[in-house]
Subunit: 443 residues, 2 copies
Amino acid sequence: MELNPLPGFRDFFPERAARREYLFARWRESARRFGFEPYDGPPLELTDLYRRKSGEEIVAQLYCFEDKGGRAIALRPEMTPTLARMIAAQGASLPKPIKWFSIPQLFRYERQQRGRLREHFQFNCDILGESSVEADVELTALLIETLISFGLTAEDFSVRVSDRRLLSAALEALGISGGEARGRVFAAVDKLSREPREKVRERLRESGIEEKAADDLLDLIGSRDLAQFAARFETVPEASERILLLQRFMGLIECMGLRGFVEFDPTIVRGLAYYTGIVFEAFDRKGALRAISGGGRYDDLLENLGGAPLPALGFGMGDVVLSEMLTERNLWPARLDDGPEVYLVLVSETLRPALLALGRRLRQAGFRVDYPLASSAVGKQFRAASQRATAAVVIGPDEWPRGLVKIKFLAAREEKTIHISEIETELHALRLRRAQAKPRGTS
Amino acid sequence: MELNPLPGFRDFFPERAARREYLFARWRESARRFGFEPYDGPPLELTDLYRRKSGEEIVAQLYCFEDKGGRAIALRPEMTPTLARMIAAQGASLPKPIKWFSIPQLFRYERQQRGRLREHFQFNCDILGESSVEADVELTALLIETLISFGLTAEDFSVRVSDRRLLSAALEALGISGGEARGRVFAAVDKLSREPREKVRERLRESGIEEKAADDLLDLIGSRDLAQFAARFETVPEASERILLLQRFMGLIECMGLRGFVEFDPTIVRGLAYYTGIVFEAFDRKGALRAISGGGRYDDLLENLGGAPLPALGFGMGDVVLSEMLTERNLWPARLDDGPEVYLVLVSETLRPALLALGRRLRQAGFRVDYPLASSAVGKQFRAASQRATAAVVIGPDEWPRGLVKIKFLAAREEKTIHISEIETELHALRLRRAQAKPRGTS
């Protein structure tokens, strides 16, 4: 038997599965606090859906195949096309704004992709039906608060914000016009965080941008100074309008107390062609500026895919980079396994009926309970208890007939004898102590 | 654009997605209370893994295809083969018993399958490394307690328990021996809950079972009386041993207070060939005895698949039948959407900074908060609030400068003016009232 999962796929043994549950629970809770509702679609769609959005070249990156019915099918590489399809089907009847989140597993399969993951999970949040900048602020705030909920701070990450339309207007003013030239410039600028300025300058020159314009552009977008942009483009109406919008964006973010997490950065253009306004990426401030999350406004996409026009914006946040960050920063909770709170130790097999009845009673009271499933030495039971649980309750032939049990707090190595009617109270107190002992970033 | 999902797949719009979240949360919580740990594998495996377990004929039911690397791949139709693979890879280093659960989406694709779902979600629980009947009891108890957690009672469902080895021994004693004849009899008996006795009798005759033996068999297994079995097979050691085991099983279930949920039913054989001991199915007592869940012991499977020998048992419970039952019995919680608790109504756009600051404060305190993302008439905001939230907090130009807000409890149509420092206290009280108002079967 082949023991490994398919290349690029992960097995989730309990420790990794518990971490995944922790991420998902935080993601869900963050979205819920912002009034977002869950949705999901199938993990498979017609390949055509992705081709319509991203063009023929996307097919080379898809995990796609032909099904038994002869349909060209792909495992979803991203969630937005499914979202667009669902909104096209039922969006007209839904009250606006639509605020939805999802946590899909996404797939890709490039042939030359040895050693890379072919799947990951992604937290997706989208707002549909709202064109105001307040929606951009809300979505960015959700992104920031989600990362904060894991214990990350403004020293750990920043959200870099730009505006595709501002950059277009600036290029126009610098004499770089025409969709094709602009596309090449966007692509070159997109590489600024990964490539030296000289290399990008060269790319701009190769794209037919004149030396003076390329230097102007690089100076301008290198400054990350919205005021400098404002002064420079005072007389360019389209640019001024977008600068005002960004200033309003920053002002509202400030009202939420989140200004310290956000920077204006005109080098953020986002590779994907469909963004139409404010775009943003969250970066790890340490780990060589890894992107943790990214998104922006895509007001034309739903109509372009064949649905009714509807302003829209969204972001995605993957599980892989975020997990790496939490590991590096030591931000996983000490106890995230939701493992048993109490292990019932059975001193004599004749007391098994008592153990089963007590086990049921405690589980019905909401406690997580474990015990031996076969006759087992008491020492071995204590080892199992120490591995799995926080407390042990000892059911012994001397105590039990008198209505007593020993309760041992395993980490503290303390024990006491209590009446069986007091077990729930002791376990509630223990749960409270555990909850209060949790590290930063957890609740 | 094609608006529908692929045939046999479901879109999860928010209401359905919220129900799915509710099922998953209960499943997870039930498993955790029994000390089970989460695991998961990839949604795709080599087709060969399923062929090894179920033979070549399974391929006709698989959602299978060839990937870009030329591998024969299948979307997982069940979780056990993945579990067996993972245990074969790392099981030797894990403390026993292994108690694992998972909630995979499963897939199948038969060509002649119009109108049937091609995917569903399934709660899977397995115990590995424990051969004692206490493990069978524990797993059955988890199945029962899971259904109880949804508000289902012994009037709604029963778990029918049998033993493959008891039936084999009984057949042997009735003169029906040989693996092939036994297989045909198992298949005929398996149909007893769906077909009239006469039809099954005919099938038995066609399988070469003599008239007398067929009638004997049908009388015997029709009785559902373990004592009758015991009397009949007193002198057949293998049968007596299994009857003792089943009696012990029933006794332990009784210790847990769950005897009323369990019946002995020798017609339960479970179609799958790999079961080796106690098997069980949970049935809806009303809806024409639909199977809600099923499982049993499969002690030989891991070794047969090429892993180390390890006793094992498990069950699966799908989301589709369970959801239908909860709908029919009206057991979905009245509020399962985890929607916003409070909607902030903005009377004047000049107060948006106050709204954003208050919104953040309440979200940081753990409340689910919604508010308008654009300038909007107060009446329209109240309609949105009523659709989505339990309370509205009105931020108005008269009250706010004096440190006051109006809080409206939307269902009760009550309102009062409070100091802004009291909002959290009011919302906590509201949360408590909501929690206490939940219907049976929810916590």
